[in-house]
């Protein structure tokens, strides 16, 4: 809005100066001319001085001379002003001498140059930041209660796992996703090979309500058998839900999958049995060969497993994973370098109401089997339903991909420190072969060798594990 050039503002400032010089009420206009001339000379002198020194200390002089009519500002004392004379535009200066007060008598607000108030430590205060975050949380909770799900049901998460190199990586990912879920949560972790301290200590960091159960078989080395065992472990978890009569929505979160937060909001919409679309990340090194194929000019699309709907948004069928491009190149054992393929329909794409599992037939619809009546194992949760058309497609009828399936594992004989913590100090130091600087004395350097040394000090659990691993490698079979 303001158009005046610097010149205009300069003229204004000069006019302030003039109006503020004869501040004594006793001075008449008769005395104005010598005073004015004197003022002019003084001003010129001050300008010259400030030109050399680099700040406008004329104002300072007038502050000292005419400080009687002054609106004092509480935050800076005169002493401070004298000390801090270099005028950064940042440093506060005292409010300039006011005009003959043209605003009406009771106004506190004065036109003119004001100081810029800066507190002594202009940095964020952690206490304030915490309070602000609490306020943000409360506001968001209120928003959720107004616009989001009215009565969110408890989410019951079933995760099969076992101790291995990448367990910490995968399980931490799932754990943090679950910690962010705004609803109540119960986490059932079924561990192959029995309950171990590794897993227990990982899970304890989450602060969630967990049920940690051991499963007596050890995890086999081939992918097919691993899937079978995982299905058994999940059934075990479902039996626990049935036994404890947990109420909520059951979802299957495998420990190497990636879940989006919208998934947890979307599954609240399920009535009995729902299905979501799962993106399959089945790439591996060998997949690059397929990309160079001449027929595939565009980027290979991510295969998606999940419900398929017809035009009227009713469930019409299923998108399943097409394993034919990978025929013959898929991984068989867990540490193979081939592509790891999922089953036709993965467990993680299904959610069910926990009341379907309860013993009393009460509300359970007819098209669900009772788990106790199952003979043998089931390959996918669709085997639990008698009538697959009753499955509800979620995520705008399967069009939104809400979680991604991935299987990445390290070699079965890979070593890692238990709980990924090197807690005893590294005692062996070996000088490195090259020093970065020729002059410096050779620094004692900790490199990979201590891990091997450390391996002799492993706890008993890992020793057992390594022995087990050796048994696998030699026999290639389960050694119980």
């Amino acid at each position: 809005m303001k158009l005046s050039a610097l010149r205009q503002s300069y003229i204004n400032r000069r006019s302030y100066f003039r109006s503020s010089v004869p501040l004594d009420s006793s001075s008449d206009s008769a005395f104005n001319s010598p005073t004015a001339i004197f003022g002019l000379i003084l001003h010129g002198l001050c300008c010259l001085i400030s030109l050399f020194l680099g700040y406008r200390f004329s104002r300072l002089v007038f502050f000292f001379l005419f400080s009687t009519n002054f609106y004092t500002s509480p935050f800076r004392s005169t002493a401070d002003l004298v000390r801090t004379l270099d005028v950064h535009s940042v440093l506060s200066t005292n409010p300039h001498l006011p005009l003959v007060n043209k605003t009406l008598p009771n106004s506190r607000v004065v036109v003119g140059r004001h100081g810029i108030r800066i507190r002594p430590w202009p940095h964020p205060d952690p206490v304030e930041t915490m309070k602000a975050h609490r306020i943000i949380e409360i506001v968001q909770k209120e928003q959720r209660s107004q616009f989001g799900e009215k009565d969110p049901r408890t989410v019951i998460v079933v995760t099969p796992t076992y101790v291995r190199t990448f367990q910490a990586l995968h399980l931490t990912g799932v754990m943090h996703s679950l910690m962010l879920v705004p609803h109540d949560l119960v986490w059932i972790v079924v561990e192959a090979g029995g309950v171990s301290n590794e897993t227990a200590s990982l899970i304890a960091k989450s602060g969630l309500k967990t049920i940690h159960v051991g499963f007596n078989q050890r995890m086999p080395n081939s992918w097919d058998e691993r899937y079978n065992l995982e299905s058994k472990m999940r059934l075990r978890a479902l039996r626990i839900i049935r036994q404890k009569k947990l109420d909520g929505i059951v979802m299957f979160a495998d420990d190497s999958n990636m879940h989006s937060m919208e998934l947890f909001d979307e599954i609240q919409n399920v009535k009995w049995f729902g299905a979501v679309s799962v993106g399959i990340l089945a790439n591996s090194i060998n997949a690059d060969e397929m990309v160079d194929h001449k027929e595939e000019q565009e980027n290979p699309r991510m295969p998606v497993q999940g419900p398929a709907c017809n035009a009227s948004n009713m469930l019409a069928g299923w998108h399943v994973f097409n394993a034919s491009p990978y025929a013959g190149k898929s991984a068989v054992h867990i540490d193979d370098r081939g592509t790891v393929l999922p089953r036709k329909l993965d467990w993680s794409g299904f959610v069910l109401n926990s009341r379907l599992l309860w013993k009393d037939r009460g509300e359970r619809p007819k098209w669900i089997k009772d788990i106790d009546m199952l003979e043998g194992d089931i390959e996918s949760p669709l085997d639990l339903v008698n009538d697959p058309s009753m499955v509800e497609p979620l995520g705008s009828c399967g069009r939104r991909v809400l979680l991604w399936w991935l299987r990445v594992e390290a070699r079965t004989d890979s070593k890692f420190p238990p709980r990924w913590v090197i807690d005893s100090p590294l005692e062996i130091t070996v000088p490195s072969r090259h020093t970065p600087w020729p002059d410096a004395p050779p620094e004692p350097h900790a490199n990979e060798e201590p891990i091997e040394k450390h391996s002799t000090k492993r706890t008993s659990g890992s020793k057992r594990r390594s022995k087990r691993k050796q048994n696998y490698n030699s026999a290639g079979q389960i050694d119980v």
């Binding site: 809005m1 303001k2 158009l3 005046s4 610097l6 503002s9 204004n12 935050f75 005028v87 535009s89 940042v90 506060s92 200066t93 005009l99 043209k102 605003t103 009406l104 008598p105 009771n106 106004s107 506190r108 607000v109 036109v111 003119g112 140059r113 004001h114 100081g115 810029i116 108030r117 800066i118 507190r119 202009p122 940095h123 964020p124 205060d125 304030e128 930041t129 309070k131 602000a132 609490r134 306020i135 943000i136 409360i138 506001v139 968001q140 209120e142 928003q143 959720r144 107004q146 616009f147 989001g148």
Partner: protein, 413 residues
Amino acid sequence: MRISFWGLLVIAFGFSWSITAFEHNPRTERISGSAGDVLEDDPVGKLKVYVYELPSKYNKKILQKDPRCLSHMFAAEIYMHRFLLSSPVRTLNPQEADWFYTPIYATCDLTPTGLPLPFKSPRMLRSAIQLISSSWPYWNRTEGADHFFVVPHDFGACFHYQEEKAIERGILPLLRRATLVQTFGQQNHVCLKEGSITIPPYAPPQKIQARHIPPETPRSIFVYFRGLFYDVNNDPEGGYYARGARAAVWENFKNNPLFDISTDHPTTYYEDMQRAIFCLCPLGWAPWSPRLVEAVVFGCIPVIIADDIVLPFADAIPWEEIGVFVAEEDVPKLDTILTSIPPEVILRKQRLLANPYMKRAMLFPQPALPGDAFHQILNGLARKLPHSKNVYLKPGEKILNWTAGPVGDLKPW
């Protein structure tokens, strides 16, 4: 005794009824009580407005010369004219009119960059008033006391963008008795007359409606502000612009992650405001700004940093309950002030802001909707009726000085 008994019964009934009315919509809150109900008043039937027929050089020709006047923040004067022409409060019989409106677009002389120059406005108004007073008897009857003018410029009818100059000029002498409808409002200031109606600046309603995001988007920004902190063209050292308050905000909180403040011009400005809990509305060269309107419409609690400001429709909207007022000297403690507000107060303010009547009262929609800013202006005018007896002058009495003011204003337009 019987009367008091019945009176008590009626009061009890009314009390319980008002409580139920209060509870009826849990998500938004109606400000019940004398202040809040006023927003929903209907002015039709309470007043009659006569619109003078001025030659088009005062309104249409000016607009034709520069159609940008329709979308800048001073466009309220144009839309008010259009609203009154087709409103039921308009009367074609000036004898029965309570208020007289002069359609003059005084703020439409724009520079190439779009800023209005107020230098010709006093002359324009003077010539319009001369025309009115000579062609119709109603001006001389009251010397303008039952006339109202829309003057949405920076400092209202002082017609200057620089505060010192505006104070020097004061309100245009010819308008000293008229009611002024203006955006500027500061207590004990020369340019705010007693009895003026403060209105919000114009914000384009279509642009605002087009940028709504789903209300379940969580509000994750604590404090939001976009705008200048230092006006380097006109006040390079700082201290004049915004009385140093904006510069203080920058210097104290530029490192604070809770404060999303910068001078950027993002394209997602409106969307970001809807994701913020507090929006700063500090003063600039004048204490009012369109940020207040935007904050209210987008549900962001306005933090008003302008000493002694008079906010729009202050007699109808309880701003204390909706916004947070911070004195300019308390700006260094702004983070402490905001985090020490109890959460239930914050939630209540958000509920009050979510009230659609509140949002509507700040906007000038076309076509007009009940409860919008046009109607609030008419409500304000209706509340000033009936005119007191001393409004009407005795024949021959003259109060206004037609030759007062700077010499340049006396030149004909």
